[in-house]
Amino acid sequence: MKREIPLLIVGITGFAMLIQYFIPTDWSEFIFTYSQDWVIVIGILALPLGIWSLIKANVLKLKVPDERFYSAVLLAGFLAMLVTGTKRESLEAGSTFMTIFTNVLIPIQATIFSLLAFFIASAAYRAFRARSVLATILLVTALIIMFRFIPLGPISTANLSAVSWILSVPNMAAKRAIMMGIGLGATATAIKIILGIERTYMGHD
């Protein structure tokens, strides 16, 4: 009852969605859109679980002297967005809500994203050492591709032909093979989930 019926539900809904794909009628189309809405609605209504988890952890930390300030900042940021965002119009440009979005969220997000420029360099420094055949292949390919920016006269011209070949032949082949493997692996896992063979995610008592 606590585990068997949910597993049965997984099997039935999964099978229904699988069959739906092959039936082109309006009915079938409706089931598809409607079921996608189920997933969306469950996802939205589950949000209080996340918020509760976040609030609880940070309210508890308010008692820890070293953490107090930071948790207060987090809670203040959260509340500020809730208070300024109550009206539908607050999603339009110019509102306090969107001003915070533009001047706090956007710059921080963009800056974290840009940290990648530094990390891609340090990762290359550490990983691209010719200590094995595989590492050497990785290193040489990445170097050839990066060298396309370096102006070295005739060497560069030859290098650019190599770049174009690498991209269209081995790189393309690698991508395709990895994708086909993923296709098989994901399909097998999904079939196992529907058949109830893969059920770890469900937990039990």
Partner: protein
């Protein structure tokens, strides 16, 4: 030819009814004046068939080209397709196609609603009448073709998707078959995977160091298959950590993932016989957006200094930010994702990487249950079939035979 013209036709309908690509075509008035430029001969033999693989909202109209299209006076530049709901009713233009094309797909599946009535809607089982006119380069219209009739029909199976159905049935059959033979006790070999073998060592290391394990499920939802594979691996990891009494921290960014991850970890502690040691606060929600989530996880890595970081699931650009920060913190890192674009970064920056399909195989490996290992065998069989199709297909296409390629082509 026919596929292309179908696509043209489909797009033309949209263009003429909704977007109005060609709505600005100059008025195509007929020049009845016999002294004017000559009118082309009309197209003939109009045949109307149901559009297949649909819910009954479309018809395919074919005709024989006007004799002045590519021959005769050679003055046809396009055809106008007109429709009516009765043979004597008013015929209105549904679209045009360029010369040389003898097929048009007329479809409209926008059922009318109280707010948007749609008189052009083609209901399943409705009857329509068509006439085709050729138009010359001087905008002179031919006489109309004979009127032809067609009835829309609802189809119950999408034949264009047949190859996928065959693959599903074949795959399921193989999986069930290998599970059955595995249950009978047949021993199955699986080759070692470095990333899997490292899991136990990594947990042992955390125990020795007295530091926690950090388990990242990525940015996928609980419905993503890669995330579900991540849950299975999490269950194994959590079970070991329960046995060794090591903490496992799971920061997540989706509330449903939070619920499932908590349930997974709780069950793992239960199975390890230590339910009292399970702390639900170790699986916690951080925030929903990608980079704020990354910022928080980075902070955890540098402050908690986990002995081992796992990355299992769907990852985007954050893969390298996380992996490099984990490296700064001195953690051993094991990663696995089905995001092809992120694999290079995991391979470069983490100690072990499960590449694509290996992530899905990992749960079977870790369980060592014959039932799970059986599915790996099924995957290999499918892979062998794919390889045979590639070899035969490549040979066939070189000999200009397209039948193998067509066999694996999906016509949506």
């Amino acid at each position: 030819m026919s596929l292309i013209s179908r696509i043209i036709a489909a797009v033309m309908i949209l263009a003429c009814t909704g977007g109005g690509v060609l709505a600005q075509t100059p008025a195509l008035e007929t020049l009845a004046d016999t002294l004017g430029p000559p009118a082309p001969m009309p197209p003939s033999h109009v045949v109307i068939k149901d559009k297949t693989n649909d819910a009954g909202h479309g018809l395919i109209i074919t005709w024989e080209l006007s004799v002045d299209d590519g021959g005769g006076r050679d003055n046809v530049i396009m055809y106008d397709i007109a429709r009516s709901n009765s043979p004597d009713g008013e015929f209105t233009s549904r679209g045009i196609v360029p010369k040389g094309v003898n097929e048009y797909e007329d479809a409209d599946d926008q059922a009318p609603t109280p707010t948007s009535p749609n008189p052009d809607y083609m209901a399943a089982g409705s009857t329509w009448y068509y006439r085709i006119t050729a138009i010359s380069d001087k905008q002179v219209r031919s006489e109309t073709s004979d009127t032809a009739m067609g009835v829309t029909e609802e189809n119950l199976f999408h034949w264009g998707k047949l190859p996928i159905l065959v693959a599903v049935v074949l795959f399921t059959a193989y999986i069930l078959n290998f599970i059955r033979s595995a249950r009978k006790g047949k021993k199955l070999y699986v080759r070692p995977l470095a990333g899997i073998n490292a899991v136990d060592d990594a947990i042992g290391r955390a125990t020795e160091m007295g530091k926690p394990i950090l388990y990242i499920l990525g940015l996928g939802t609980a419905g993503d298959i890669a995330t579900i594979a991540g849950f299975t691996i999490l269950a194994r990891v959590a079970r070991r950590t329960a046995e060794y009494q090591t903490r496992v921290l799971v920061p997540v960014q989706d509330p449903v993932v939070l619920a499932v991850a908590q349930e997974t970890v709780r069950t793992a502690y239960l199975e390890a016989g230590r339910p009292e040691q399970y702390n639900p606060d170790n699986v916690f929600y951080v925030t929903a957006l990608q980079f704020p989530y990354v910022a928080a996880v980075n902070g955890i890595m540098l402050r908690e200094r986990p002995a081992t970081n796992f990355y299992m699931g769907v990852f985007y650009a954050e893969s390298l930010i996380l992996a490099e920060t984990g490296n700064i913190a001195g953690s051993i890192q094991i990663s696995g994702t089905d995001q092809v674009a992120q694999l290079p970064f995991f391979v470069a920056a983490t100690d072990y990487t499960l590449i694509g399909e290996e992530l899905y195989a990992a749960s079977a490996y870790l369980s060592q249950e014959p039932v799970q290992l059986g599915t790996l065998k099924a995957q290999d069989y499918l892979k062998a079939i794919i390889m045979i199709v590639i070899i035969l297909g490549a040979i066939a296409i070189t000999g200009k035979w397209t039948f193998i390629r067509e066999m694996v082509t999906i016509n949506l």
